[in-house]
Chain length 593, copies 2
């Protein structure tokens, strides 16, 4: 059976040494209730839960899958008990406001607890994740009465949440959705339409499910400015909070997917289901984006979790598997062969994964800290700066972390040879489960368009300039013994600045330029971000003694020599422009002659 | 249902225009029976078979899978009838000698017919593929009597073949296998041991299965010099050719795999099964490598087939799916949105796939032609040169074609967004099915070690120097209007020459250098090879008129601008050396602190 040991030592290093979290929390009155010891205790509890409860359900969940039968969805054996245990532990409301029963933990911490769940059972994790996302959207946009009705039950895990956006003909382009919301006399609406790809659209984990649904009211403006957000509960809620009549919102089927098979992905049919407007008419997309941004960071964490899980298993397998001999002479002469760890190519795959994992973990905590500033700070300047940073880095967190993680799980599978391709070692499931993270919540291509368009060109590079300014300030302060990462990071910053200027100019002449350059540009900013993370990691490690810390600095060296060089080819591709890409006729693509 | 239109126009272009196959065949007395019209007719027949017979069985085969029950393996519904139809069409012996009932078609042609089968049903294709591989090994090393007994029945499809190499503890390192062969008085041997990952180890497609088994005789030398090859038939064959008693070789189970689920991958137990030595004792590995090299080129074709299939489906989906608007204004103002082909990033993914497909197809035919020279030529000089070329390029054909294809199928899936992740569009199966091609028949990492070690360092770069000399001769002859590909190819050749020299020198000082550099070096030589193929494609297209040919030249331009730049980062990584990789202790990999 696959192994997983929660990387607590690394998590504590990132929190305590790299980001000095306790100091940050204590400085902020809204977070002063938290100290490092409490944070560590929370991580240790989640380590136990993920290792003992969700990990053993991962393969069985995949094999059994969520099941649809006659209008009802059933989760695999053990999921309901695990969900109840998770809910009873207070985990669903870990980051939620105390007013609604939450524990008010900062995102810096919850990203780490989320990582362990994603590592051990991504299908399971998606159920509470959607609840938390729905809770966030309600917390930001719903009325006080709506919050009182729904939020406490969501955080206790009695009810769950979903987000219902996609329709058969409308995914990325939500402006063309067809689901209708017709007003009733009592202020409610009748919601009619079909939504697809609804994670947790139906299941047996909770007594009620609160759907957040995008729909169009009569005479709403065309496009994305005419979309409203509605609460559509599976069971209507009586005034006393008890469950009332069954609302006509039903799963029509579940999808048969490549992976995350224990997560029920539903087609949801709304047949004049009663819905309640959240916020104002036609302003639904903004409310949904609160949830989307939260999910997008989480998808990056899904990548990190999977990659850490895959790394640990591949490293163990490579240690145990003996095959061939070291070129410098037998390392285990008492055995018929050496461990495959003597081969540089096996190490290369493992070190790529480990370097990306450690940088990803630091980056997730960094973005979490920025989100915490936007939520908990009392300084308007700091909040504004952090909002810009979050806007810039959310697409990186979603797409770059999942792109690097997917390569890492592929490499981990490769370390197993043929054994990686069969079910028992868990690698093939890990790949199938992770692949969706590059696709859903806006494909990584769409994330890249967001980064280059709304987050860069629209503000004329301001968000990036602010980020690079911080990177330079920090990196310039590094000691001379860290020159290898200092120089590499500063050089990368200059190159990123320069290619961004190039993009801004090229776009003025050719509006098609950015779309073709987007994915490569996202990797450019991702590489710089990981260099910055390694600068921070190396700086923190340098203060300490022992192999653990020395290895952090060595891994930063590996990153500089073997991963950061990707920057130049990405920049070359950005500059290659869109001419050749757009020069082919549309017909060309489907015609061979 | 997924579509597939055999790319006949491109295949004919590659055969007739790029490689002028008929001229090559007619020049060679052993191939003079073949002309272009016959070759095209064969391709057209296979196009029908693959589109009408194997394509419809692809998804059902995946869903049903091969089944093991009480010592017997059953293939999915329809497979047996399809196999019979395939066998009756004479396809199994398409490339085999006439003496044994084959059609003596050259590899240049069979790679193209293989591509169509791999595109439409890789699981199906593996059954005849193993038969053909076993036939080749027997044809090269078996006695006349053995050939007479087994080869005709294999090529009619009455019997099938397997290769039994891997054991639970021994995959890449065959020197440590434990299967024993104990001599009997009648000249036969008793074979005892367990083999795993045996493709087609048991099935219901044929009345007999001829296993080729690696085993060790008593007192055989240790390591790979003590391995012998045996024929172990499922049913022993009587002197009159009829089937005799059941040999104690049985499937113990079948593997549950990520993909190619309709291909039975068996654990095979040999319990003193009667075996017959092929060739000489202790020389089994050489005989098996005849088969392995054949399979390795085929795995590259598996990549090409999958990538062409994925490309066609993604291009069609991208044409049909409307979502968002072109940045330069609506292209389909009568619809609610434009086709996603207006987005540069979607085109980038499709063009990457198409460029790699067209170069891969040319490369497969090129390597096929070299194999044909080794087999059919009467000129010893030409045979020696072709043998060197095949040795050099086999690892590229296996690993580079599958690496680029795997990226292409991932990109194709991404073009579908969430629809790519669900079963109905066929993309997720394509990915699962293709992934094994990077792993089996020697992982792509092992192929890279083969390229850099045995094929480059061992001959001090001679094979590569010969190849580059041919590339320079050809490319220098290009017209000035093709300077864009001429210059790019010549520059690449110089860079590859230079980094190869670097490797030869670095290895003298540090024997661990090549292992760490191998995968990047394989991509270096792969990129040069594709540049060379595009030089040949562009040169052939330039002579012709019409969009089909103009687009070939445009695609060569795309390759130069957007794919070939990978060369520089690969070279940087090669030169990064092994120091940092080998600097970590073995303990580091499995320890977090």
């Amino acid at each position: 059976m696959p192994i997983y040991n929660a990387p607590l030592a690394d998590m504590k290093f990132i929190l305590n040494d790299v980001f000095q979290a306790e100091k940050f929390w204590q400085k902020n009155e809204n977070l002063a209730h938290l100290d490092a010891a409490t944070a560590e205790a929370i991580l240790e509890e989640m380590a136990k839960f993920s290792q003992n409860v969700t990990l053993p359900l991962n393969r069985t969940g995949d094999e059994e899958g969520a099941k649809y039968d006659n209008g009802t969805v059933t989760t695999p054996a053990g999921f309901k008990a695990a969900f109840q245990q998770y809910a009873e532990g207070g985990w669903i409301g870990l980051g939620a406001d105390a007013e609604w029963g939450g524990q008010e933990m900062p995102k810096m911490l919850t990203v780490l607890s989320d990582e362990m769940l994603f590592a051990t059972n991504p299908s399971f994790m998606l159920y509470p994740l959607l609840s938390v996302g729905a809770g966030m959207a309600l917390n930001s946009y719903a009325s006080q009465e709506q919050k009182e009705t729904y939020l406490p039950k969501i955080y206790t895990g009695e009810w769950a949440g979903t987000m219902c956006l996609t329709e058969p003909h409308a995914g990325t382009d939500l402006g063309i959705i067809k689901t209708k919301a017709e007003p009733n006399n009592d202020g409610s609406y009748n919601i009619t339409g079909t939504k697809i790809f609804i994670t947790g659209g139906d299941h047996d984990l909770t007594e009620n499910i609160i759907h957040l649904v995008l729909a169009k009211t009569p005479n709403a403006p065309a496009g994305s400015r005419g979309i409203s957000l509605f609460i559509v509960p599976k069971f209507l809620v009586n005034e006393d909070g008890s469950l009332g009549e069954r609302n006509p919102v039903n799963p029509g089927s579940i999808e048969h997917k490549m992976g995350i098979k224990a997560s029920a992905t539903c087609v949801m049919n709304f047949d004049a289901a009663k819905g309640f407007l959240v916020g104002k008419e036609n302003e639904g997309l903004a409310a949904m984006f609160v949830m989307m941004n939260y999910e997008r960071l989480s998808m990056g964490i899904q990548g990190l979790g999977a990659s850490e899980f895959a790394y640990q298993n591949a490293a163990q397998y490579a240690t145990d598997r003996i095959q061939g001999r070291s070129v410098t002479g037998a390392k285990s002469p008492d055995k018929v062969a050496d461990s495959i760890l003597v081969h540089g190519d096996v190490r290369r795959m493992l070190l790529n994964a480990r370097a990306n994992n450690e940088a990803s973990r630091a980056f997730a905590v960094y973005v979490g800290q920025q989100l915490d500033i936007t939520k908990f700070s009392t300084d308007p300047e700091a909040i504004k700066a952090a909002n810009n940073r979050v806007a810039l880095l959310t697409p990186i967190a979603k797409a770059y972390l999942t792109d690097t993680a997917f390569q890492a799980v592929l490499d981990a599978q490769m370390c197993f040879g043929g054994h990686g391709y069969i079910r028992e070692w868990g690698m093939e499931q890990c790949i199938r489960d992770l692949r969706i993270a590059q696709i859903y919540e806006g494909t990584n291509g769409v994330q890249s368009q967001d980064l280059i368009g709304r987050k860069t060109i629209k503000c004329e590079g301001e968000f990036l300039a602010e980020y690079i300014s911080e990177i330079r300030d920090f990196t310039n302060s590094l000691d001379a013994e860290l020159n290898f990462i200092k120089d590499a990071t500063l050089d990368a910053a200059t190159e990123v600045e320069s290619v961004t200027k190039y993009i801004l100019e090229a776009t003025q002449e050719n509006p098609e330029f950015p779309n073709s350059a987007a994915v490569d540009y996202l990797h450019v900013v991702g590489l710089l971000s990981f260099a910055y993370m390694f600068a921070r990691i190396a700086n923190a490690a340098k203060e300490k003694e022992g192999d653990f810390y020395q290895n952090k600095i060595a891994l930063a060296g590996y990153f500089v020599q073997r991963i950061l060089p990707e920057l130049s080819v990405r920049i070359t591709k950005v500059k290659a422009g869109s001419e050749v890409i757009m020069s082919f006729s549309e017909d060309y693509f489907t015609h061979q002659s």
